[in-house]
Protein backbone atom coordinates (compact mmCIF):
# COMPACT_ATOMS: atom_id res chain seq x y z
CA UNK A 1 0.00 0.00 0.00
CA UNK A 2 1.73 3.16 -1.17
CA UNK A 3 1.22 6.49 0.49
CA UNK A 4 -0.80 9.08 -1.40
CA UNK A 5 1.19 11.94 -0.01
CA UNK A 6 4.67 11.51 1.34
CA UNK A 7 7.09 14.05 2.76
CA UNK A 8 10.72 12.95 2.97
CA UNK A 9 13.36 14.83 4.97
CA UNK A 10 11.69 18.12 4.25
CA UNK A 11 13.72 21.24 5.02
CA UNK A 12 12.49 24.78 4.66
CA UNK A 13 14.80 27.77 5.04
CA UNK A 14 13.72 31.40 4.89
CA UNK A 15 16.09 34.29 4.36
CA UNK A 16 19.83 34.41 4.04
CA UNK A 17 22.84 35.20 6.15
CA UNK A 18 22.06 36.47 9.60
CA UNK A 19 18.31 36.47 9.00
CA UNK A 20 18.33 32.84 7.95
CA UNK A 21 15.57 30.86 9.63
CA UNK A 22 15.53 27.11 9.43
CA UNK A 23 11.78 26.72 9.78
CA UNK A 24 11.43 23.01 9.06
CA UNK A 25 14.16 20.48 9.82
CA UNK A 26 14.20 16.98 8.31
CA UNK A 27 10.50 16.27 8.70
CA UNK A 28 9.19 13.05 7.18
CA UNK A 29 5.77 11.47 7.19
CA UNK A 30 3.37 9.69 4.89
CA UNK A 31 -0.40 9.69 4.56
CA UNK A 32 -2.13 6.77 2.87
CA UNK A 33 -5.04 7.31 0.51
CA UNK A 34 -8.21 8.13 2.44
CA UNK A 35 -6.25 8.65 5.62
CA UNK A 36 -6.21 11.62 7.92
CA UNK A 37 -2.95 12.80 9.39
CA UNK A 38 -2.42 15.53 11.96
CA UNK A 39 0.49 17.89 12.55
CA UNK A 40 0.43 19.31 16.07
CA UNK A 41 2.59 21.98 17.59
CA UNK A 42 2.69 25.47 18.99
CA UNK A 43 3.44 28.65 17.10
CA UNK A 44 6.87 28.51 15.51
CA UNK A 45 6.86 24.73 15.36
CA UNK A 46 6.86 24.85 11.56
CA UNK A 47 3.66 22.86 11.19
CA UNK A 48 1.96 25.36 8.90
CA UNK A 49 5.17 25.84 6.96
CA UNK A 50 5.13 22.14 6.08
CA UNK A 51 1.70 22.60 4.46
CA UNK A 52 2.80 25.71 2.62
CA UNK A 53 5.92 23.93 1.38
CA UNK A 54 3.82 21.07 0.04
CA UNK A 55 1.82 23.43 -2.11
CA UNK A 56 4.73 25.59 -3.16
CA UNK A 57 4.00 28.61 -0.97
CA UNK A 58 7.23 28.12 0.99
CA UNK A 59 10.68 27.40 -0.47
CA UNK A 60 11.86 23.80 -0.15
CA UNK A 61 15.56 23.76 0.75
CA UNK A 62 15.92 20.02 0.87
CA UNK A 63 13.98 16.79 0.80
CA UNK A 64 11.07 15.69 -1.30
CA UNK A 65 7.31 15.91 -1.45
CA UNK A 66 5.77 12.98 -3.30
CA UNK A 67 2.22 12.59 -4.53
CA UNK A 68 1.37 9.00 -5.40
CA UNK A 69 5.07 8.22 -5.45
CA UNK A 70 5.96 10.94 -7.96
CA UNK A 71 7.24 14.46 -7.28
CA UNK A 72 4.32 16.88 -6.94
CA UNK A 73 3.28 18.47 -10.21
CA UNK A 74 3.12 22.23 -10.46
CA UNK A 75 0.46 24.79 -11.31
CA UNK A 76 -2.82 23.69 -12.81
CA UNK A 77 -2.28 19.95 -12.50
CA UNK A 78 -1.44 20.29 -8.82
CA UNK A 79 -4.56 22.34 -8.16
CA UNK A 80 -6.77 19.51 -9.39
CA UNK A 81 -5.25 17.07 -6.93
CA UNK A 82 -4.40 19.06 -3.80
CA UNK A 83 -6.32 21.93 -2.27
CA UNK A 84 -5.96 23.89 0.94
CA UNK A 85 -8.24 25.48 3.53
CA UNK A 86 -6.67 28.36 5.39
CA UNK A 87 -6.80 29.25 9.04
CA UNK A 88 -8.44 32.62 8.93
CA UNK A 89 -11.64 32.67 6.92
CA UNK A 90 -11.62 36.47 7.17
CA UNK A 91 -8.35 36.61 5.24
CA UNK A 92 -8.77 33.78 2.77
CA UNK A 93 -11.76 35.19 0.88
CA UNK A 94 -11.29 38.23 -1.31
CA UNK A 95 -13.15 41.09 0.40
CA UNK A 96 -14.42 42.50 -2.90
CA UNK A 97 -15.58 39.28 -4.51
CA UNK A 98 -19.03 37.84 -4.00
CA UNK A 99 -19.24 34.20 -2.96
CA UNK A 100 -20.39 33.51 -6.51
CA UNK A 101 -17.23 35.04 -7.92
CA UNK A 102 -15.06 33.14 -5.42
CA UNK A 103 -16.57 29.86 -6.53
CA UNK A 104 -16.71 30.73 -10.22
CA UNK A 105 -12.99 31.41 -10.36
CA UNK A 106 -11.67 27.82 -10.18
CA UNK A 107 -14.29 26.79 -12.72
CA UNK A 108 -13.08 29.49 -15.08
CA UNK A 109 -9.40 28.70 -14.56
CA UNK A 110 -9.82 25.03 -15.29
CA UNK A 111 -12.42 25.49 -18.00
CA UNK A 112 -14.94 23.21 -16.30
CA UNK A 113 -18.42 23.02 -17.74
CA UNK A 114 -21.83 23.62 -16.14
CA UNK A 115 -20.54 26.29 -13.76
CA UNK A 116 -24.00 27.23 -12.49
CA UNK A 117 -24.71 23.68 -11.38
CA UNK A 118 -21.32 23.21 -9.81
CA UNK A 119 -21.61 26.37 -7.73
CA UNK A 120 -25.08 25.48 -6.49
CA UNK A 121 -23.96 21.96 -5.71
CA UNK A 122 -20.82 23.12 -3.90
CA UNK A 123 -22.86 25.49 -1.72
CA UNK A 124 -25.35 22.73 -0.93
CA UNK A 125 -22.59 20.33 0.04
CA UNK A 126 -21.22 22.63 2.69
CA UNK A 127 -24.68 23.37 4.00
CA UNK A 128 -25.00 26.95 2.83
CA UNK A 129 -27.63 26.91 0.11
CA UNK A 130 -28.07 29.32 -2.75
CA UNK A 131 -29.28 32.22 -0.61
CA UNK A 132 -25.63 32.90 0.17
CA UNK A 133 -24.44 32.86 -3.38
CA UNK A 134 -24.40 36.56 -4.14
CA UNK A 135 -23.33 37.86 -0.78
CA UNK A 136 -20.00 39.41 0.02
CA UNK A 137 -17.72 37.79 2.63
CA UNK A 138 -18.30 40.61 5.11
CA UNK A 139 -21.98 39.69 5.14
CA UNK A 140 -21.17 36.19 6.42
CA UNK A 141 -20.17 34.90 9.84
CA UNK A 142 -16.81 33.25 10.43
CA UNK A 143 -18.26 29.74 10.21
CA UNK A 144 -20.11 30.53 6.98
CA UNK A 145 -16.95 31.93 5.45
CA UNK A 146 -15.01 28.84 6.36
CA UNK A 147 -17.73 26.78 4.67
CA UNK A 148 -17.26 28.88 1.54
CA UNK A 149 -13.52 28.27 1.72
CA UNK A 150 -14.16 24.54 1.98
CA UNK A 151 -16.59 24.67 -0.92
CA UNK A 152 -13.97 26.47 -3.00
CA UNK A 153 -11.36 23.86 -2.16
CA UNK A 154 -13.69 21.01 -3.09
CA UNK A 155 -14.89 22.48 -6.39
CA UNK A 156 -11.89 21.04 -8.19
CA UNK A 157 -12.56 17.60 -6.71
CA UNK A 158 -9.08 17.15 -5.26
CA UNK A 159 -7.79 13.98 -3.64
CA UNK A 160 -5.91 15.71 -0.84
CA UNK A 161 -7.17 18.51 1.35
CA UNK A 162 -4.61 20.45 3.37
CA UNK A 163 -6.27 21.98 6.41
CA UNK A 164 -4.32 24.74 8.12
CA UNK A 165 -5.93 25.31 11.53
CA UNK A 166 -9.34 25.34 9.86
CA UNK A 167 -11.28 26.02 13.05
CA UNK A 168 -8.95 27.96 15.33
CA UNK A 169 -10.51 31.29 14.40
CA UNK A 170 -14.04 30.03 15.09
CA UNK A 171 -16.26 29.82 18.16
CA UNK A 172 -16.46 26.44 19.88
CA UNK A 173 -19.95 25.63 18.67
CA UNK A 174 -19.09 26.67 15.12
CA UNK A 175 -15.89 24.65 15.32
CA UNK A 176 -17.98 21.56 16.06
CA UNK A 177 -20.14 22.22 12.98
CA UNK A 178 -17.15 22.73 10.71
CA UNK A 179 -15.33 19.66 12.05
CA UNK A 180 -18.46 17.58 11.51
CA UNK A 181 -18.74 18.92 7.98
CA UNK A 182 -15.11 18.06 7.25
CA UNK A 183 -15.52 14.55 8.66
CA UNK A 184 -18.67 13.99 6.59
CA UNK A 185 -17.10 15.25 3.37
CA UNK A 186 -14.08 13.04 3.90
CA UNK A 187 -16.27 9.97 4.30
CA UNK A 188 -18.45 10.87 1.31
CA UNK A 189 -15.67 11.72 -1.10
CA UNK A 190 -12.87 9.50 0.16
CA UNK A 191 -10.65 12.53 0.71
CA UNK A 192 -7.21 12.42 2.26
CA UNK A 193 -6.66 15.00 4.99
CA UNK A 194 -3.52 16.60 6.28
CA UNK A 195 -4.62 18.66 9.25
CA UNK A 196 -2.52 21.21 11.09
CA UNK A 197 -3.63 22.33 14.52
CA UNK A 198 -2.36 23.52 17.87
CA UNK A 199 -5.25 21.72 19.54
CA UNK A 200 -4.52 18.10 20.41
CA UNK A 201 -8.19 17.38 20.97
CA UNK A 202 -9.13 18.54 17.48
CA UNK A 203 -6.39 16.43 15.92
CA UNK A 204 -7.35 13.44 18.02
CA UNK A 205 -10.93 13.82 16.91
CA UNK A 206 -10.14 14.17 13.22
CA UNK A 207 -7.04 12.05 12.59
CA UNK A 208 -5.89 8.48 12.95
CA UNK A 209 -2.23 9.38 13.22
CA UNK A 210 -0.32 12.47 14.12
CA UNK A 211 3.09 14.02 14.38
CA UNK A 212 4.05 16.34 17.21
CA UNK A 213 6.38 19.14 16.11
CA UNK A 214 8.49 21.62 18.03
CA UNK A 215 10.93 24.26 16.77
CA UNK A 216 10.66 22.98 13.21
CA UNK A 217 11.49 19.37 13.98
CA UNK A 218 9.41 16.25 14.47
CA UNK A 219 9.25 15.28 18.15
CA UNK A 220 7.00 12.28 18.30
CA UNK A 221 4.87 10.18 15.98
CA UNK A 222 1.65 8.94 17.55
CA UNK A 223 -1.38 6.84 16.81
CA UNK A 224 -4.56 8.49 18.01
CA UNK A 225 -5.20 5.42 20.14
CA UNK A 226 -1.91 5.90 21.99
CA UNK A 227 -2.79 9.50 22.63
CA UNK A 228 -6.13 8.52 24.08
CA UNK A 229 -4.40 6.09 26.40
CA UNK A 230 -1.88 8.81 27.35
CA UNK A 231 0.91 6.57 26.07
CA UNK A 232 3.34 9.23 24.96
CA UNK A 233 7.11 9.00 25.17
CA UNK A 234 8.46 12.52 24.98
CA UNK A 235 8.23 15.16 27.66
CA UNK A 236 7.00 17.75 25.18
CA UNK A 237 4.08 15.65 24.01
CA UNK A 238 3.19 15.03 27.64
CA UNK A 239 3.23 18.79 28.33
CA UNK A 240 0.91 19.41 25.41
CA UNK A 241 -1.39 16.65 26.57
CA UNK A 242 -1.53 18.10 30.08
CA UNK A 243 -2.14 21.60 28.78
CA UNK A 244 -5.09 20.42 26.73
CA UNK A 245 -6.93 19.41 29.88
CA UNK A 246 -7.21 22.93 31.20
CA UNK A 247 -5.80 24.68 34.22
CA UNK A 248 -4.77 22.71 37.27
CA UNK A 249 -4.55 24.37 40.65
Amino acid sequence: MGALIEVRDLNVVFGKGRQRVHAVKDVSFAVERGGSFGLVGESGSGKSTVLRAICGLAPIAGGQVLLDGAPVPHGIAFARRVQMVFQDPYASLHPRHTIDRVLAEPIAIHGLGDGEDRIERALDEVGLGSAFRFRYPHQLSGGQRQRVAIARALLLEPEVLLLDEPTSALDASVQAEVLNLLARLRAEKGLTYLLVSHDLAVVDHMCERLLVMQHGAAVERLEAAALEAHRVDTEYARTLLRASEGYRR
Binding site: M84, H94, P95, H97, I109, F134, H138, Q139
Partner: protein, 300 residues
Protein backbone atom coordinates in the same frame (compact mmCIF):
# COMPACT_ATOMS: atom_id res chain seq x y z
CA UNK B 1 -40.58 44.51 -3.32
CA UNK B 2 -39.52 48.14 -3.42
CA UNK B 3 -36.29 49.36 -4.92
CA UNK B 4 -34.84 50.12 -1.49
CA UNK B 5 -35.50 46.60 -0.24
CA UNK B 6 -34.13 45.16 -3.49
CA UNK B 7 -30.90 47.09 -2.99
CA UNK B 8 -30.42 46.44 0.71
CA UNK B 9 -31.43 42.80 0.85
CA UNK B 10 -29.05 40.36 2.51
CA UNK B 11 -29.79 37.73 -0.11
CA UNK B 12 -29.26 39.18 -3.55
CA UNK B 13 -30.32 36.85 -6.34
CA UNK B 14 -27.94 37.86 -9.08
CA UNK B 15 -24.50 39.27 -9.67
CA UNK B 16 -26.07 42.49 -10.86
CA UNK B 17 -28.19 42.92 -7.74
CA UNK B 18 -25.20 42.24 -5.48
CA UNK B 19 -23.14 44.86 -7.25
CA UNK B 20 -25.92 47.42 -7.22
CA UNK B 21 -26.50 46.81 -3.52
CA UNK B 22 -22.83 47.39 -2.83
CA UNK B 23 -22.86 50.58 -4.89
CA UNK B 24 -25.97 51.75 -3.07
CA UNK B 25 -24.32 51.22 0.32
CA UNK B 26 -21.31 53.24 -0.76
CA UNK B 27 -23.61 55.93 -2.08
CA UNK B 28 -25.46 56.11 1.26
CA UNK B 29 -22.12 56.52 3.03
CA UNK B 30 -21.26 59.34 0.67
CA UNK B 31 -24.62 61.04 1.12
CA UNK B 32 -24.10 61.22 4.86
CA UNK B 33 -20.98 63.31 4.32
CA UNK B 34 -22.19 66.87 3.60
CA UNK B 35 -18.81 68.14 2.42
CA UNK B 36 -18.50 65.32 -0.08
CA UNK B 37 -21.98 66.11 -1.33
CA UNK B 38 -20.97 69.75 -1.76
CA UNK B 39 -17.98 68.57 -3.78
CA UNK B 40 -20.19 66.32 -5.87
CA UNK B 41 -22.65 69.19 -6.43
CA UNK B 42 -19.84 71.42 -7.70
CA UNK B 43 -18.65 68.77 -10.12
CA UNK B 44 -22.15 67.96 -11.34
CA UNK B 45 -22.71 71.68 -11.87
CA UNK B 46 -19.45 71.86 -13.82
CA UNK B 47 -20.47 68.95 -16.04
CA UNK B 48 -23.93 70.44 -16.65
CA UNK B 49 -22.39 73.80 -17.39
CA UNK B 50 -20.06 72.25 -19.95
CA UNK B 51 -22.78 70.15 -21.55
CA UNK B 52 -25.30 72.98 -21.76
CA UNK B 53 -22.79 75.73 -22.53
CA UNK B 54 -24.64 77.20 -25.54
CA UNK B 55 -27.76 77.67 -23.40
CA UNK B 56 -26.08 78.70 -20.18
CA UNK B 57 -23.77 81.26 -21.75
CA UNK B 58 -25.14 84.72 -22.44
CA UNK B 59 -22.66 85.71 -25.14
CA UNK B 60 -20.40 84.18 -27.72
CA UNK B 61 -17.09 83.39 -25.98
CA UNK B 62 -14.91 84.29 -28.94
CA UNK B 63 -16.53 87.21 -30.75
CA UNK B 64 -14.85 90.47 -29.80
CA UNK B 65 -16.77 93.66 -29.03
CA UNK B 66 -14.08 96.23 -28.58
CA UNK B 67 -16.40 99.03 -27.48
CA UNK B 68 -17.38 96.95 -24.44
CA UNK B 69 -13.82 96.17 -23.36
CA UNK B 70 -12.91 95.85 -19.67
CA UNK B 71 -16.39 96.45 -18.29
CA UNK B 72 -16.64 95.74 -14.55
CA UNK B 73 -18.90 92.92 -13.28
CA UNK B 74 -22.59 93.67 -13.65
CA UNK B 75 -22.16 96.43 -16.24
CA UNK B 76 -23.91 96.21 -19.59
CA UNK B 77 -25.41 92.77 -19.08
CA UNK B 78 -22.07 91.12 -18.30
CA UNK B 79 -22.45 89.48 -14.87
CA UNK B 80 -18.72 88.93 -14.44
CA UNK B 81 -17.55 91.80 -16.63
CA UNK B 82 -15.64 91.68 -19.91
CA UNK B 83 -12.00 91.19 -20.82
CA UNK B 84 -9.61 93.33 -22.79
CA UNK B 85 -11.25 92.35 -26.09
CA UNK B 86 -14.78 92.94 -24.86
CA UNK B 87 -15.67 89.29 -24.50
CA UNK B 88 -18.10 88.26 -21.76
CA UNK B 89 -16.02 86.61 -18.98
CA UNK B 90 -18.96 84.60 -17.67
CA UNK B 91 -19.54 83.01 -21.08
CA UNK B 92 -15.85 82.32 -21.50
CA UNK B 93 -15.74 80.55 -18.13
CA UNK B 94 -18.79 78.48 -19.12
CA UNK B 95 -17.18 77.39 -22.38
CA UNK B 96 -13.84 77.00 -20.61
CA UNK B 97 -15.43 74.31 -18.45
CA UNK B 98 -15.53 72.15 -21.57
CA UNK B 99 -11.80 72.42 -22.09
CA UNK B 100 -11.10 71.86 -18.41
CA UNK B 101 -13.31 68.77 -18.32
CA UNK B 102 -11.78 67.49 -21.53
CA UNK B 103 -8.28 67.74 -20.08
CA UNK B 104 -9.22 66.36 -16.70
CA UNK B 105 -11.26 63.53 -18.20
CA UNK B 106 -8.57 62.28 -20.54
CA UNK B 107 -5.82 62.53 -17.96
CA UNK B 108 -8.03 60.75 -15.43
CA UNK B 109 -8.55 57.71 -17.64
CA UNK B 110 -4.99 57.37 -18.90
CA UNK B 111 -2.49 58.20 -16.15
CA UNK B 112 -4.06 56.15 -13.31
CA UNK B 113 -4.54 53.10 -15.54
CA UNK B 114 -0.93 53.21 -16.63
CA UNK B 115 0.25 53.81 -13.06
CA UNK B 116 -1.91 50.97 -11.80
CA UNK B 117 -0.46 48.51 -14.29
CA UNK B 118 3.12 49.53 -13.54
CA UNK B 119 2.61 49.58 -9.77
CA UNK B 120 0.77 46.27 -9.42
CA UNK B 121 3.19 44.49 -11.73
CA UNK B 122 6.17 45.86 -9.79
CA UNK B 123 4.62 44.96 -6.45
CA UNK B 124 3.39 41.52 -7.41
CA UNK B 125 6.47 40.24 -9.22
CA UNK B 126 9.08 41.95 -7.07
CA UNK B 127 12.74 41.28 -7.86
CA UNK B 128 14.22 42.87 -10.94
CA UNK B 129 10.82 43.76 -12.42
CA UNK B 130 10.18 45.84 -9.33
CA UNK B 131 13.62 47.43 -9.47
CA UNK B 132 13.39 48.43 -13.13
CA UNK B 133 9.83 49.74 -12.99
CA UNK B 134 10.28 51.63 -9.76
CA UNK B 135 13.55 53.29 -10.77
CA UNK B 136 11.78 54.46 -13.92
CA UNK B 137 9.01 55.83 -11.73
CA UNK B 138 11.56 57.53 -9.51
CA UNK B 139 13.11 59.27 -12.51
CA UNK B 140 9.74 60.74 -13.44
CA UNK B 141 9.05 61.68 -9.83
CA UNK B 142 12.40 63.43 -9.52
CA UNK B 143 11.27 66.33 -11.75
CA UNK B 144 8.78 68.94 -10.64
CA UNK B 145 5.62 68.11 -12.53
CA UNK B 146 5.15 71.46 -14.24
CA UNK B 147 8.77 71.61 -15.39
CA UNK B 148 8.54 68.14 -16.89
CA UNK B 149 5.22 68.97 -18.54
CA UNK B 150 6.79 72.14 -19.89
CA UNK B 151 9.65 70.17 -21.38
CA UNK B 152 7.26 67.75 -23.06
CA UNK B 153 5.08 70.52 -24.48
CA UNK B 154 8.13 72.41 -25.64
CA UNK B 155 9.27 69.28 -27.47
CA UNK B 156 5.85 68.33 -28.84
CA UNK B 157 4.51 71.80 -29.58
CA UNK B 158 1.85 73.90 -27.85
CA UNK B 159 -1.83 72.94 -27.88
CA UNK B 160 -4.51 71.28 -25.81
CA UNK B 161 -3.77 67.78 -27.09
CA UNK B 162 -0.10 67.95 -26.30
CA UNK B 163 -0.82 69.55 -22.95
CA UNK B 164 -2.98 66.55 -22.05
CA UNK B 165 -0.28 64.16 -23.17
CA UNK B 166 2.34 66.03 -21.16
CA UNK B 167 0.20 66.11 -18.03
CA UNK B 168 -0.66 62.41 -18.33
CA UNK B 169 3.00 61.54 -18.76
CA UNK B 170 3.89 63.41 -15.61
CA UNK B 171 0.88 62.32 -13.56
CA UNK B 172 1.23 58.52 -13.56
CA UNK B 173 4.21 57.95 -11.20
CA UNK B 174 2.31 58.71 -7.97
CA UNK B 175 -0.35 56.16 -8.96
CA UNK B 176 2.31 53.57 -9.59
CA UNK B 177 3.69 54.23 -6.10
CA UNK B 178 0.27 53.99 -4.45
CA UNK B 179 -0.60 50.84 -6.37
CA UNK B 180 2.70 49.22 -5.53
CA UNK B 181 2.32 49.97 -1.83
CA UNK B 182 -1.18 48.48 -1.82
CA UNK B 183 0.01 45.47 -3.78
CA UNK B 184 2.74 44.77 -1.26
CA UNK B 185 0.20 44.65 1.55
CA UNK B 186 -2.15 42.26 -0.27
CA UNK B 187 0.47 40.17 -2.05
CA UNK B 188 0.93 37.79 0.85
CA UNK B 189 -2.73 37.68 1.83
CA UNK B 190 -4.31 34.28 2.12
CA UNK B 191 -6.84 35.00 -0.61
CA UNK B 192 -4.00 35.59 -3.07
CA UNK B 193 -2.36 32.33 -1.94
CA UNK B 194 -5.74 30.62 -2.34
CA UNK B 195 -6.08 31.94 -5.90
CA UNK B 196 -2.59 30.72 -6.70
CA UNK B 197 -3.45 27.29 -5.33
CA UNK B 198 -6.47 27.19 -7.59
CA UNK B 199 -4.05 27.44 -10.47
CA UNK B 200 -4.59 31.11 -11.29
CA UNK B 201 -1.84 32.74 -13.33
CA UNK B 202 -0.14 36.05 -12.63
CA UNK B 203 -2.32 38.03 -15.06
CA UNK B 204 -5.52 36.72 -13.56
CA UNK B 205 -4.34 37.40 -10.02
CA UNK B 206 -3.16 40.92 -10.81
CA UNK B 207 -6.26 41.89 -12.78
CA UNK B 208 -8.86 40.08 -10.72
CA UNK B 209 -7.48 40.08 -7.21
CA UNK B 210 -4.79 42.71 -6.74
CA UNK B 211 -6.16 45.59 -8.81
CA UNK B 212 -9.59 45.72 -7.14
CA UNK B 213 -7.80 46.17 -3.83
CA UNK B 214 -5.71 49.05 -5.21
CA UNK B 215 -8.58 50.66 -7.02
CA UNK B 216 -10.13 52.57 -4.15
CA UNK B 217 -6.92 54.26 -3.08
CA UNK B 218 -6.13 55.09 -6.69
CA UNK B 219 -9.61 56.54 -7.29
CA UNK B 220 -9.32 58.63 -4.16
CA UNK B 221 -5.90 59.75 -5.25
CA UNK B 222 -7.26 60.66 -8.70
CA UNK B 223 -10.00 62.88 -7.32
CA UNK B 224 -7.53 64.54 -4.99
CA UNK B 225 -5.11 65.01 -7.91
CA UNK B 226 -7.76 66.54 -10.14
CA UNK B 227 -7.15 69.88 -8.55
CA UNK B 228 -3.46 69.55 -9.36
CA UNK B 229 -4.22 68.51 -12.93
CA UNK B 230 -6.50 71.50 -13.46
CA UNK B 231 -3.81 73.73 -12.04
CA UNK B 232 -1.11 72.21 -14.23
CA UNK B 233 -3.34 72.65 -17.28
CA UNK B 234 -4.01 76.21 -16.20
CA UNK B 235 -0.31 76.71 -15.59
CA UNK B 236 0.54 75.52 -19.09
CA UNK B 237 -2.21 77.75 -20.42
CA UNK B 238 -0.87 80.65 -18.38
CA UNK B 239 2.58 80.14 -19.87
CA UNK B 240 1.06 80.06 -23.33
CA UNK B 241 1.83 76.38 -23.89
CA UNK B 242 -1.61 74.92 -23.39
CA UNK B 243 -4.82 75.92 -25.14
CA UNK B 244 -4.14 78.68 -27.66
CA UNK B 245 -6.11 81.93 -27.92
CA UNK B 246 -8.86 82.57 -28.64
CA UNK B 247 -9.94 79.28 -26.96
CA UNK B 248 -11.42 80.17 -23.57
CA UNK B 249 -9.18 78.12 -21.30
CA UNK B 250 -9.12 79.25 -17.66
CA UNK B 251 -5.36 79.37 -17.26
CA UNK B 252 -4.95 81.28 -20.52
CA UNK B 253 -7.60 83.71 -19.33
CA UNK B 254 -5.72 84.42 -16.12
CA UNK B 255 -2.56 84.88 -18.11
CA UNK B 256 -4.24 87.45 -20.35
CA UNK B 257 -5.81 89.20 -17.35
CA UNK B 258 -2.64 89.62 -15.38
CA UNK B 259 -1.66 92.65 -17.47
CA UNK B 260 -4.74 94.45 -16.12
CA UNK B 261 -4.63 93.03 -12.62
CA UNK B 262 -4.28 96.38 -10.82
CA UNK B 263 -6.90 98.40 -12.70
CA UNK B 264 -9.29 95.65 -13.82
CA UNK B 265 -9.03 92.94 -11.17
CA UNK B 266 -11.97 90.86 -12.39
CA UNK B 267 -10.35 89.81 -15.65
CA UNK B 268 -7.88 87.49 -13.89
CA UNK B 269 -9.82 86.91 -10.68
CA UNK B 270 -12.98 85.39 -12.19
CA UNK B 271 -11.30 82.44 -13.96
CA UNK B 272 -9.08 82.10 -10.90
CA UNK B 273 -12.18 81.69 -8.75
CA UNK B 274 -13.51 79.10 -11.18
CA UNK B 275 -10.30 77.07 -10.85
CA UNK B 276 -10.45 77.43 -7.09
CA UNK B 277 -14.06 76.26 -6.80
CA UNK B 278 -13.65 73.28 -9.10
CA UNK B 279 -10.41 72.19 -7.40
CA UNK B 280 -12.13 72.43 -4.06
CA UNK B 281 -15.03 70.36 -5.39
CA UNK B 282 -12.75 67.53 -6.49
CA UNK B 283 -10.85 67.62 -3.19
CA UNK B 284 -14.01 67.40 -1.09
CA UNK B 285 -15.37 64.55 -3.18
CA UNK B 286 -12.06 62.71 -2.97
CA UNK B 287 -12.09 62.89 0.80
CA UNK B 288 -15.63 61.55 0.92
CA UNK B 289 -14.87 58.74 -1.53
CA UNK B 290 -12.01 57.60 0.64
CA UNK B 291 -14.51 56.63 3.33
CA UNK B 292 -17.27 55.36 1.07
CA UNK B 293 -15.25 53.13 -1.25
CA UNK B 294 -14.24 50.55 1.32
CA UNK B 295 -16.63 47.59 1.27
CA UNK B 296 -15.53 46.59 4.74
CA UNK B 297 -17.04 49.75 6.13
CA UNK B 298 -20.44 48.71 4.81
CA UNK B 299 -23.07 47.98 7.47
CA UNK B 300 -23.13 44.43 8.71
Amino acid sequence: MGLGAWLTTDTPRSRFQARMGQTYNGWRDLVRNPLAMLGLAIIVALVLMAALAPWVATHDPIVQTLKDRLLPPGAGGHPLGTDELGRDIYSRIVYGARITLYIVGIVAVTAPVFGLVVGTAAGYFGGWVDTVLMRLTDIFLAFPRLILALAFVAALGAGVGNAILAIALTAWPPYARVARAETLTVRNADYIAAARLQGAGATRIILGHVMPMCLSSVIVRVTLDMAGIILTAAGLGFLGLGAQPPLPEWGTMISAGRKFLLDHWWVATMPGLAIFVVSLGFNLLGDGLRDALDPRSAPR
